[in-house]
């Protein structure tokens, strides 16, 4: 009952007009009108090439991905980028028009944890991706256009080898968006590990400061030596320089499939561990991404204060542990509580496959990526605003993966990774009718043997 009223309410609110966007937290407010085209720069770059191929998705209700919705708007795509989004756009000659009247248009879903779907098995992923993997189509049917493949955690020190993979069916070069945009570490750390991390981070910071000061120093004293890079600090440096995001996982030590199956958060996802993660954030002086902190809803403000983000599985429910007052369990309200405090959230599903890290389209017991929108809808049921819930699958997820400048919203200059759906993106009856990745139509419901025999039930 509560869910449906909330749903109707939010729908009514949304369709009322071009809502002022609800930019959140540290990102501030977004412009109120449809994004204007600052697309001049990419245009110039591509000018010497062939004339641009234009595609327009016309007449759909466009979810920008920032929380805003434009009713009956047009999305204009030039080659592989979004050129313009707005009402009554003038289409260049020769534009391919895709009619989306009565449909919704949304950014492709960005999944923070995935496997399969054509991702290679080792880094560099660009040499091993399989652009014809059959489960690419299955992922596209689920609305996924990008996901993070590979490992995102490492014990006691920074590590991980991963890549943001796009489901660009049939295109090797288009499949890898960015390699190693995420660096991971798992807590709790041993005392020696924590100490050595602290010294390494300090050394790296000193090095960066010395590098910044070097030109001035050199001007004064031509004999000044260039600062020496600290040993094996590449990953720390890439985090400090903003080239990679730091993710913190909860290790708990050892492999415990049952615990993982139940919680998906590892064994030590209690408040103390969350605080340790935040300690690392302070060490680096920038927000980290906390992976599946089941007790995070107890300390949302502490998390927000460090500028950290959270990956959460709203579907996961864990009972409180009466013996451990720190471990309070989790339920569907967690996401809403965190969002209210201004913590960006990315939604994932409970770990499938007996706790293995891999979540893909081949999971067991429904714990898989075939319905990421429903996972987000669980957060709505727990009190998260509908609009914000879509962000957990789009822009916030992209930011958490460190690729928010390329994907996650329908804004001019971004990659054209777009879904056309036959209803509200978060409704469980909604199907993807068309998926576009890098400006190319890579999935059409009517042409693939996955869901073409199912038509959306009327509610």
């Amino acid at each position: 009952m509560r869910k449906s009223t909330l749903f109707v309410l939010s729908l009514a609110l949304l369709s009322a007009a071009d809502l002022p966007s609800q930019g959140r937290g540290r990102r501030g407010r977004r412009p109120t009108s449809a994004p204007t085209p600052p697309a001049a720069a990419p245009k110039q770059e591509e000018k010497p090439k062939d004339p641009k191929q234009y595609t327009a998705i016309v007449g759909g209700d466009v979810y920008i991905g920032t929380g805003q919705r434009l009713t009956g708007a047009t999305v204009l795509i030039a080659d592989d980028k979004i050129e313009k989004v707005g009402h009554n756009l003038k289409l260049p000659e020769g534009t391919t028009v895709i009619d989306a009247k009565g449909k919704t248009v949304s950014p492709g879903f960005v999944i923070v944890q995935g496997s399969g779907m054509g991702a290679g098995f080792s880094s560099p992923f660009k040499d091993t991706v399989n652009p014809f993997a059959p489960d690419i189509k299955q992922g596209l049917a689920a609305g996924i256009t990008s996901f993070l493949a590979g490992s995102t955690s490492s014990r006691d020190r920074l590590g991980g080898s991963n890549a943001v993979i796009k489901l660009a069916y049939g295109d090797v070069e288009g499949m890898v968006l960015k390699e190693n945009s995420v660096v991971g570490i798992s807590v709790p750390l041993t005392r020696t590990a924590r100490d050595s991390l602290k010294t390494s981070v300090k050394a790296a910071k000193d090095y960066l400061a010395a590098v910044a000061a070097y030109p001035a120093k050199k001007a004064k004293d031509p004999k000044a030596k260039a600062p020496k890079k600290p040993k094996s600090a590449d990953q720390i440096l890439s985090v400090l320089q903003g080239k990679a995001n730091l993710w913190v996982a909860f290790g708990g030590g050892g492999f415990n499939p049952f615990r993982r199956m139940a919680g998906g958060g590892g064994g030590a996802s209690d408040v103390a561990s969350i605080r340790e993660a935040l300690e690392i954030a302070k060490m680096f002086g920038k927000g980290v991404v906390i992976q599946k902190p089941t007790s995070a809803w107890l300390v949302p403000d502490e998390i927000a204060a460090t500028g950290s983000s959270v990956i959460i599985s709203p579907r996961t429910r864990l009972p409180a542990d009466p013996k451990n007052p720190d471990r309070t369990g989790t339920n569907i309200a967690s996401a809403a509580i965190l969002a209210k405090a201004g913590v960006p959230i990315a939604v994932t599903c409970p770990s499938g496959r007996f706790g293995g890290g891999g979540v893909g389209t081949n999971g067991i017991l429904g714990q898989d990526l075939n319905t990421p929108n429903v996972d987000a809808a669980y957060a709505v049921r727990g009190g998260l605003e509908n609009r914000k819930a879509l962000r957990t699958l789009t822009l916030d997820a992209a930011n958490i993966m460190g690729v928010g400048d390329r994907i996650g919203s329908l804004e001019a200059g971004k990659d054209a990774d777009i879904l056309i759906l036959d209803g509200d993106p978060l409704h469980y009856s909604t199907f993807v009718t068309t998926a576009i990745v890098n400006g190319k139509v890579v999935y059409e419901k009517g042409k693939e043997a996955l869901y073409r025999h199912i038509s959306r039930p009327k509610h």
Binding site: D127, A133, V172
Partner: protein, 494 residues
Amino acid sequence: MSMRNNNRLLVLSVTAALVCAVATAQNARPTAFTNARIHTVSGKTIEKGTLVIRNGKIDAVGKDVVVPAGAKVIDASGKTLMPGLVSAWSRAGLNAPTSLSNTPTRSGRRGRGQRFRPSRSSGRTTNAAATKVIDRVYIRQPIFGKLLEVGVTSLALNPSGGGFPGLGAVLNPAGKTREALTLDDEAFVQIGMQRNSGAKKLLKETFAKAKKVVEEREKPPAPPVKKPEAKKPTAGKPEAKPGAKPTGKPPEGKEPPKPGPKPTPKPTPKPTPKPKPKEGDKKQEPKPSSKPAAAKKPAKKKPKDPNLEVLADLLQGKRRAIVHINSAADLLHWRTAVSDDVKFPRMIAVTRHDSNSGTIDLVIDHLKKWECSVLLPPSLTTMPRTAYLTHPAKKLHDAGIEVGFIIGESPTSVRNIFFSLMELVRSGLPADIAIKAITQVPAKALGIDKRTGTLEVGKDADLLVFDGDPLSPTGKLEQVWLRGSRVEKDSANN
């Protein structure tokens, strides 16, 4: 013990039978098949036609051919003639026959019959393009004779592995000695695509290096105009040789590639002696003529990499290649590693339909750009995760790409090829294309199409006689003719 003896006997008897067959080939009395249905492959199928064999070659073929006087006439009414099968993908004879494993049958290699292990150099980290696969073959195996009995009249031997595993050979399956077995010991360059960064890097860098060698060769040798007398012969010699290679393809008469005892198949400078003296000599000439600066250059370039020389030949069109690419994904990865500007005559070999990485028909556009033929497994396949059958061969053929089929390397798989073709034909592939795909197309890829692969005047009389439609289960292979002589069936082999 008795088993082994039996086997030895068997080998001997096969040998004897084949030697007899070859001996009879030399008589000059022509043979004529009359009233036969003739799949010429080169042209239309002839109904009630006549085919005349003289001196091992096809002397005449057609509807109104007059049977020469004195010819031995074989009434072939109700029978079908087609060219002998050409297998462009096999590793027959590269493993020690298990039954003979303890007998020292291998010539050229000592050892106790352990299975051949591909040398590390054929892996992905190095370029071993000049290694000859023929050096690794175990001769005097019954397998060649058995393959001949079921219709394989030309047999390729493919080095295996990623990167540049070596030079493939074309065998005469009736040969009993290394020399007789070898028709061409460097018929083609084998290249293998693998989807990993090591293999891609190797492809990219090696082709770049080979390109440089080509540029070096094509540079006009301007500065040294000193000893024209000494220069002429050196310059003339190499041009004639590599030039003769692809076109001439000397048949049996060709000089044998070094008799037996050549210990190991290492990529020694031995395999490509031809280009070597050419450039080496050229470079060495300026040395005495001019300054020490010039003398330095040749000293640096002296150790030529024979593997690169082979690939440079390839890029210059003096050799051809068989490129093993199993899936559409691999083909796209090839394109990211090796640019389309790197052009060379090639055939793509697909050894299994890989619907998990995309069957090769998904990238027809790229294949068209390469203007190459494609060797496929003779089977339909299913769309990924469905039961819908797809027909990659038909798709390629419809798109104008020449299709060949892998006919296997065991007598059983060769016998089954006609059943497989039947399935492909009933699913829409034209029957004449199916026959062409196991004769002319692979022959072209091996560079033996001037000699065999079709039933045309002047070609070797390699032909099969069926007592009906080859694709029908009722059509039985009755006779195999190799270079004008009938291959006697050895009952011990059946």
